[in-house]
């Protein structure tokens, strides 16, 4: 029997002590932080703060150990074993840029193809657009239904064809909540020897990831979308792929020996060669604490809770006149519910919500390729997580109705 209680979970997040009446439904943008994560960061500054991989004194050695432990915890959490490496970056965005600039760019020739889904966030579009512009390669869109997330496999020959050099896809849309069958994409891409990057920014919020079993080449995510601190993210990559990459951002801590010429430089061993500059120790410790926090939650309970709220919200919204849904019923379980009204602008819906302490997102959600394809200007989005309750849903629905009453033409 489930012992999950959103109210108990909510009590673990000090943010809600300061904002007891807020209905925070913008979790796809960023999540609140539990006390254990905040404590771990505070503790790191109080007792463990020292440069990583630089000092000879005991505190510096201890910082090295904390940093390595955080990496190890996260590697285990994401199911990344010995054949993979876990690189700390500043965000999922930074991780994608790293792969684009250090791995893909030098492999592209004119006419080559990089394949994306129409659901991609700008962070998984712009880096590819840039390297295509400089190489003469082209971006291709995977044939699919962007609302359901179903790939039209019968039209995917070119996706795994000769010209296809890289596939970069989201695991879970930040707009429609559609989950892509990333496992099947990875399997088919592996057979065709096409490297794959999975943007897991939204997936990691509620789903366990087993990187090695997934068998993708690269996986990226950010800590702040899974109850961890801002400013730190991960690149999980097969060692073989990292060994094929050249460092992109250069600086201290990532070089063993500075040569007389650039070609003579000897980069540090993995993973440090891709982590230039001073390490974000507190971020790594906080990220690791967030993974441990998620580990002690029962995944099935978490997913049941979010699925229940998502389905309830979707069902209620579908009963409101003039509301159009971008989230399909089968995807409501993923807790990302996007919608718009025939005549009320999403900003006006979000403003009425804001006036009543309901935090939602409105606009194009950094996913303009999707909105262009759907010929829609923008949408309102409620994104749910473990600390959301029925009350949050109810007050949102009241606000949506109020916005319609006030602004509908």
């Amino acid at each position: 029997m489930s012992t999950f209680s959103a109210e108990k979970v909510r009590a673990q997040f000090p943010f809600f002590s300061h904002h007891p009446n807020i209905a925070y439904l913008d979790n796809a943008a960023t999540t609140q932080k539990p006390q254990v994560v905040i404590d771990s960061i505070t503790h790191s500054y109080i007792s463990a703060n020292a440069p990583v991989a630089r000092g000879l004194y005991s505190l510096a050695a201890s910082a090295d150990e904390h940093y390595a432990n955080a990496r190890s915890t996260l590697s285990k959490y994401f199911g990344a074993g010995n054949s993979t490496k876990c690189i700390f970056t500043s965000s999922a965005t930074a991780s994608i840029n790293l792969v684009a600039n250090s791995f893909v760019k030098s492999r592209l020739n004119k006419g080559d193809e990089i394949w994306l889904t129409p659901l991609e966030h700008h962070s998984n579009f712009l880096p590819w657009q840039r390297i295509c512009a400089s190489s003469g390669a082209v971006i291709k869109w995977i044939p699919m239904n962007p609302i359901s997330g179903d790939i039209h496999w019968e039209k995917c020959d070119a996706l795994f064809g000769q010209k296809s050099k890289f596939i970069a896809i989201t695991a879970l849309s930040n707009v429609t909540g559609a989950a892509i069958d990333i496992k099947l994409v990875c399997q088919r891409a592996a057979k065709a020897s096409i490297p794959v990057l999975i943007d897991g920014a939204q997936l990691v919020a509620h789903h366990l990831v087993e990187f090695d079993k997934l068998d993708c080449d690269f996986f990226v995510c950010s800590a702040h979308k899974m109850f961890g601190p801002n400013g730190i993210g991960l690149l999980l990559a097969k060692t073989q792929r990292l060994e094929q990459m050249q460092p992109d951002i250069l600086g201290g801590g990532m070089i063993d020996w500075l040569g007389h010429t650039f070609e003579d430089n000897q980069w540090s061993s993995l993973p440090r060669s891709f982590e230039p500059g001073s390490a974000n120790l507190s971020g790594a410790i906080g990220f690791s604490a967030a993974a441990q926090y998620m580990n002690q939650l029962r995944q099935a309970d978490v997913q049941d809770h979010i699925a229940y709220l998502g389905r309830h919200l979707l069902s209620e919204l579908s009963n409101i006149n003039g509301i159009r849904l971008l989230t399909a019923p089968e995807n409501a379980k993923n807790g990302i519910i996007s919608f718009f009204h025939d005549t009320v602008h999403p900003h006006d819906i979000a403003q009425v919500c804001a006036d009543n302490q309901v935090a939602i997102r409105a606009g194009h959600h950094c996913a303009q390729p999707l909105f262009n394809r759907l010929s829609i200007q923008g949408a309102a989005r409620a994104s749910l997580t473990i600390y959301n309750t029925q009350r949050d849903i109810q007050i949102l629905l009241t606000c949506v109705q109020r916005a319609i009453d006030e602004f509908a033409l």
Partner: protein
Amino acid sequence: MNTDELKQTLLKHYRQPAHRTTTPFPPNYKVGKGINPACGDDVEIGLELDSLGNLIDAQFRARGCSICIASSSMLMTILSKMQSKPLPNHELQTLKYALETWLTEPTLKLPNELPEVLLPLSLVKSMPARKKCVMLIWHALENAIPM
């Protein structure tokens, strides 16, 4: 005007905007565009000027929220009072700057240099993220004519 009256006036500009068009501007119109990257809203202003630079007509096209539409309507009301005269570019620049400044200041009272029609925008002072919605049409104006 009390808050409710200001709100009703703002909503009136949104529901019945002045000089809004849904058709493309004629080719002789000077057109300027404003885009809000945060939400994808876009507005266009179209100005018809005669050979002497006198304003003949001003219209706007918009895909935007209530505040964006209302602010556009207010600017059209201001411009309608400038018809048949050369566009006072410098004065419009001063108005734009005064409006931007006023929106960030706590005082609700409209500065002397700003026309009364803009007063309902005082409601936006408590919504920092919506100031861009107000200014979008003014950016479009700036793009249409050198200010």
